[in-house]
C-alpha cells in the first residue's frame, strides 16, 4: 500500500519518530523506544463533547446532537456484534481503556507482550460499530452512574461551573458526559450518524510508542485499515462573545475546605500560534503565581492558600482558551483580588526576567523527563495531531520564546476583567 513517510527529529532532545500519511486517510505516528518492554497505542478521533453541530459534503443542514453523545459512543464502541473488546484484549493480557474529552476520543492499550495481536484488536473494533436499541438502552444506567459520580466530585464541579460562567454559547460549557436527561435522547441511529461522521480515518490518528517495530505496525495498518473518502466535515459553533457571563459562581458540596478556580477568558488560537501561546502563558503564570513567586509565598505565609494552590496548564481547544489557577482557601475573594492586582502590576511594570528564564528551564526538564515514558510519548504524538502541529513542536518552540514575547502577550491578550471566580464550599 502507498505511504507517505517522514522521520521527525527533535534537535533539542535528539528524539525522533516516524510519521506516515496512510493511503486509507489515517495519520500514523510511531516512536520505537529501544530497551523498553512495554508498548502503548492510541487510536484517536477529533471528536469530543464540543462537537455537537456538524454536516458533511452534500448535506444542506447541520445536525445537532444531544450533549454527551461522543462519550456515549465511546462506551458503546467497545461492544461489537460477537463480543466485547475487553474480552478480546483479555486474551492478550493488554490493559485497555478509552477516554473522551472536549475535543477528542481515544482508545488505548498498554502491554508488555502480544503487541501485534492487541493492535489488531484495537484497529478492528474501532472500525466495527455495533449499536442496537437494546445495547444502547442498557448503557444508560452505567453512564448515569458515571455522571452522578462526577457530580459529587468537587474539583469537577468547580471547574465546570467556571466554564459555564465564562462561556455564553460555546459547547465547552457542557459536561463531557452530558446530563442524565440529555443521554436519554441518544439512540442507535444517532450513534451511527456520529460514528460515520467523525470516525472517518481522515479525522483520526494512530500513535504508538515503546517496544514496537514500525514495519510491523504499518503491515497491520495495511491489512486492517479500510480506506475511506474525506467527507468534508464542517462544524458549527454558536457565536461566542469576548465577554464572560458573570464574574462569580458558587456551589455547595461536602468539602473539607472551600475550593476555588480562578479563570481568565482569552482569545482562542490554533496551530503553532497556540503552541507558542501555551508556552508563553504557562511560563508567565508560573513566574507570577508559582511556588517560587513572591505572591505565592506571601499568601502561603499568611495562611491564605496551602500547597494545593497551583496555576493550571492552559486549557485550550477549538474556540476556547482559558488560563486558570485554583486550590483551597477560606477566603477565595481575597486570593482573587491579590492575583488580579499582581497581573495588573505585571502588565504595567513587567515581571522578573531571570525567573522567566529559570521556568523555561523547568519546562525543558519536564519535556526531557517525559521522553522516558512510553505513554507520554504516544500521547505527545496524538496531541500534536489534534493540534495540527508536528510532534516536538513544543520543545523546539521553547528555545525561541523570549521574555519580551511573554510580556507583550500578557499586555495584549490577558484582560483581568474577563475573569471568573468559581467556589465550592460545604
Amino acid at each position: 500500500m502507498e505511504r507517505n513517510t517522514e522521520i521527525i527529529r527533535s534537535e533539542q532532545s535528539g528524539a525522533e519518530c516516524l510519521h506516515v500519511k496512510h493511503q486509507s486517510g489515517l495519520d500514523i505516528y510511531i516512536m520505537e523506544m529501544e530497551g523498553y518492554h512495554s508498548s502503548f497505542a492510541l487510536f484517536g478521533t477529533k471528536y469530543g463533547s464540543i462537537n455537537t453541530r456538524f454536516r458533511v459534503k452534500g448535506e444542506d443542514t447541520y445536525t445537532e446532537v444531544p450533549e454527551g453523545i461522543a462519550h456515549y459512543l465511546e462506551h458503546k464502541l467497545f461492544e461489537n456484534e460477537d463480543c466485547d473488546a475487553f474480552e478480546k484484549y483479555a486474551r492478550t493480557g493488554a490493559n485497555a481503556n478509552a477516554y473522551t474529552s472536549f475535543d477528542r476520543t481515544a482508545y488505548l492499550f498498554s502491554c508488555s507482550e502480544h503487541f501485534a495481536e492487541s493492535l489488531e484488536i484495537l484497529l478492528t473494533f474501532v472500525q466495527e460499530p455495533y449499536f442496537t436499541p437494546e445495547n444502547v438502552e442498557k448503557e444508560q444506567g452505567i453512564i448515569a452512574q458515571e455522571i452522578r459520580m462526577n457530580d459529587d466530585e468537587p474539583g469537577w464541579r468547580v471547574f465546570f461551573n467556571m466554564l459555564r460562567a465564562m462561556y455564553h454559547n460555546h459547547p465547552v460549557r457542557i459536561d463531557i458526559a452530558g446530563t442524565v436527561e440529555s443521554i436519554r435522547k441518544i439512540d442507535a441511529d444517532l450513534l451511527y450518524k456520529c460514528y460515520h461522521t467523525f470516525y472517518n480515518l481522515h479525522n483520526m490518528t494512530l500513535a504508538v510508542a515503546g517496544n514496537v517495530k514500525a514495519d510491523e505496525v504499518l503491515a497491520l495498518c495495511d491489512k486492517l485499515l479500510r480506506p475511506c473518502e474525506d467527507q468534508g466535515l464542517e462544524q458549527l459553533y454558536a457565536d461566542e462573545p469576548d465577554t464572560i457571563v458573570k464574574n462569580y459562581v458558587e456551589d455547595t458540596l461536602p468539602v473539607g475546605a472551600p475550593i476555588f478556580n480562578l479563570g481568565f477568558k482569552l482569545r482562542p488560537l490554533s496551530g503553532m500560534e497556540l503552541v507558542r501561546a501555551e508556552l508563553l502563558t504557562s511560563t508567565m503564570l508560573e513566574v507570577l503565581l508559582g511556588p517560587s513567586s513572591r505572591l505565592y509565598n506571601e499568601m502561603l505565609e499568611e495562611g491564605l492558600i496551602n500547597s494545593e494552590f497551583e496555576a493550571d496548564a492552559p486549557f485550550t481547544g477549538d474556540g476556547y482558551f482559558v488560563l486558570s489557577c485554583g486550590g483551597e482557601t477560606q477566603d477565595s475573594e481575597a486570593v482573587r483580588d491579590r492575583i488580579l492586582e499582581e497581573i495588573r502590576r505585571a502588565q504595567k511594570d513587567g515581571f522578573d526576567q531571570e525567573s522567566f528564564e529559570r521556568i523555561k528551564r523547568v519546562h525543558y526538564g519536564s519535556m526531557i523527563r517525559s521522553l522516558s515514558s512510553v505513554e507520554a510519548n504516544a500521547s505527545m504524538m496524538l496531541n500534536a495531531y489534534m493540534a495540527g502541529v508536528s510532534p516536538f513542536s513544543s520543545i523546539e518552540s521553547l528555545a525561541e520564546i523570549t521574555y519580551e514575547d511573554a510580556l507583550q502577550f500578557l499586555r495584549d491578550e490577558v484582560d483581568p476583567d474577563r475573569h471568573v471566580l468559581s467556589v465550592v464550599h460545604s
Partner: protein
C-alpha cells in the same frame, strides 16, 4: 539493566540500578519502621518538613528556586502503610547529566540536596524552624480535612476503619487532627531522630549513569548514624475476621451512594489471592465487571483489590441508593459462584495474562525498578520477575476456588446519598 546492592554499614543498604534508556536519575531513601499509630502524625509532619526546606534553602521559595535551576528537579516525600510497616520515602529526581545545557553535574547536585534535607534540615535549638513548621502543620490539617472531598477515597478509608478496628491500619496514615494538634517543632524533630535510629533504611539510585562516587558520599553521610537499632518489620499483619459481618451506614449530601465491602480469610497464598482478585473484580473482564456493571448496569465501577499484608479483599462500587442492596447481593452472588467453581477456564487464563503483562512491564519506569527491588528485599523468597510469572502461570482453578472459600464477608460500609453528614 545492571543492579548492584551494597552495604553502607549500620544496617543501611544501597541498590544502584543502571538503565541507559532512562532520561532521569532518581535517588530514593526509604525508611521502614513497624506501625505505631500514635506516631503517624509526627512522621507525616517530619517527611514534609524535610523536603520543603533545609538549612541551606530555608524556605519554600529558595528550595523551589534551587529545584527550578536543576531543570525542574523534583523533591518528594510520602508515607504509606504496608501490612504492619510504615514506609517513609524521601526522593529526588533530575534529568540526566547528558541533557544539562551547561554541563552541570545534576546527579551530584541532587545527591547534595537530598543529603542536605536528611542530615542538615531546617532545625534550630533541637526543633524544626517554627515558621516552616506552622506552614506544614496547616498543610497537614488541611489535607486531613480535605479527605472528604474525594468521595470514593473517603468511603474506602471509612470502610478500613471499621474492618480493621483496634488494629494499626484503622488509623489514618497522616494521623488525626487531635494527633497533629498535640505536636510541636521539637517533638516532631525528636520523632525524626528516633526514626533515623530505628528504621530499616534502604537507598535506591536508578538512572542511565553509573553514579560513580555515590556510594562513598552516601557512606560518609549515613556513617554519621552510629546509634542505630533497626527494628524487625512485620510485613504480614493479618486481620482477624469478625464473627459476623458488621454494617455501617453514613448519610452524606451526595448524589451517588458508595458501597464498600471487606472480605477476610486466613492463610491466603500471595499469588493465588491476587489472581483470585483479578478473576473476581480486578480487571475489566472480571466477574464483577461483566455481571454487576455490564449485565446488570448497576454501576460505573465495581472493583476488587487486595490489601497487602492484611489478608483482606476490598470491593467498592458507586451505586444509586435504591440499587445498593441489589448490588450487594450481586457482589456476594458472584463470590458464591466462584466458590462453586463457576467461572470459565478462559477467564482464569485471561487473568493470568493480565498479571503476567503487568509483571513483564516492570523496568520501564524508575519507580517500577525500585518497587521491584524493594519487593525482592522484603518478600522472604526474593523471587524475581520471571519466577513470579511462573508462579502465576502454574496456579490452578482449585487454588482460586480455595481462596474464594476461605474469604468471608467482614464489613459492609454504605455512604448513603441524600443525607446530611454530621461532620464526624
Amino acid at each position: 539493566m545492571k543492579e548492584i546492592t551494597q552495604d553502607l554499614g549500620h544496617g543501611i543498604s544501597l541498590t544502584r540500578i543502571t538503565e541507559p534508556k532512562f532520561t532521569t536519575n532518581t535517588l530514593m531513601v526509604m525508611m521502614l519502621v513497624p506501625v505505631v499509630p500514635e506516631k503517624n502524625a509526627a512522621y507525616a509532619l517530619a517527611q514534609s518538613l524535610l523536603t520543603q526546606s533545609c538549612r541551606r534553602y530555608p524556605d519554600n521559595a529558595s528550595m523551589t528556586i534551587r529545584l527550578d535551576e536543576m531543570y525542574g528537579a523534583s523533591l518528594n516525600s510520602s508515607l504509606s502503610i504496608n501490612g504492619g510497616v510504615m514506609q517513609i520515602l524521601i526522593s529526588g529526581s533530575v534529568i540526566a547529566n547528558r541533557y544539562a545545557l551547561a554541563g552541570e553535574d545534576l546527579l551530584g547536585d541532587m545527591t547534595d540536596l537530598l543529603l542536605g534535607c536528611l542530615f542538615d534540615p531546617n532545625v534550630r535549638d533541637g526543633a524544626f524552624d517554627a515558621g516552616e513548621y506552622r506552614i506544614q502543620r496547616k498543610e497537614l490539617l488541611d489535607a486531613i480535612d480535605a479527605m472528604i472531598n474525594n468521595k470514593r477515597g473517603y468511603a474506602l478509608v471509612r470502610a478500613r476503619q471499621i474492618a480493621f478496628r483496634g488494629e494499626p491500619d484503622a488509623y489514618l496514615v497522616y494521623g488525626t487532627r487531635e494527633d497533629v494538634e498535640k505536636l510541636d517543632p521539637a517533638s516532631v524533630y525528636e520523632a525524626y531522630l528516633d526514626l533515623l535510629r530505628r528504621a530499616v533504611i534502604r537507598v535506591y539510585c536508578v538512572g542511565p549513569e553509573p553514579c560513580d562516587g555515590l556510594p562513598e558520599r552516601l557512606q560518609e553521610a549515613f556513617g554519621k548514624l552510629t546509634d542505630r537499632a533497626p527494628e524487625a518489620l512485620p510485613y504480614e499483619a493479618p486481620s482477624k475476621p469478625k464473627p459476623a459481618p458488621e454494617s455501617f451506614t453514613e448519610p452524606m449530601e451526595v448524589t451517588q451512594s458508595k458501597l464498600v465491602l471487606a472480605f477476610k480469610g486466613e492463610n491466603l497464598p500471595y499469588e493465588a489471592f491476587r489472581l483470585f482478585s483479578a478473576v473476581y473484580g480486578g480487571t475489566p473482564f472480571s466477574m464483577l465487571f461483566s455481571n454487576v456493571r455490564e449485565k446488570m448496569s448497576l454501576c460505573y465501577y465495581c472493583a476488587s483489590r487486595v490489601i497487602a499484608g492484611k489478608n483482606t479483599l476490598i470491593v467498592d462500587s458507586g451505586v444509586e441508593l435504591a440499587n445498593a442492596e441489589k448490588a450487594h447481593e450481586a457482589i456476594l452472588a458472584q463470590l458464591d459462584a466462584m466458590r462453586r467453581g463457576e467461572f470459565s477456564e478462559e477467564l482464569l487464563e485471561n487473568a493470568k495474562h493480565s498479571m503476567v503483562n503487568s509483571l513483564r512491564g516492570i523496568g520501564d519506569t524508575p519507580s517500577s525498578c525500585i518497587s521491584d527491588a524493594y519487593e525482592r528485599f522484603y518478600r522472604p523468597d526474593g523471587a524475581d520477575v520471571e519466577e513470579r510469572v511462573q508462579r502465576y502461570l502454574s496456579l490452578t482453578r482449585e487454588d482460586i476456588i480455595a481462596v474464594a472459600n476461605a474469604l468471608t464477608e467482614d464489613t459492609v460500609y454504605l455512604m448513603q446519598q441524600g443525607g446530611v453528614h454530621d461532620g464526624t
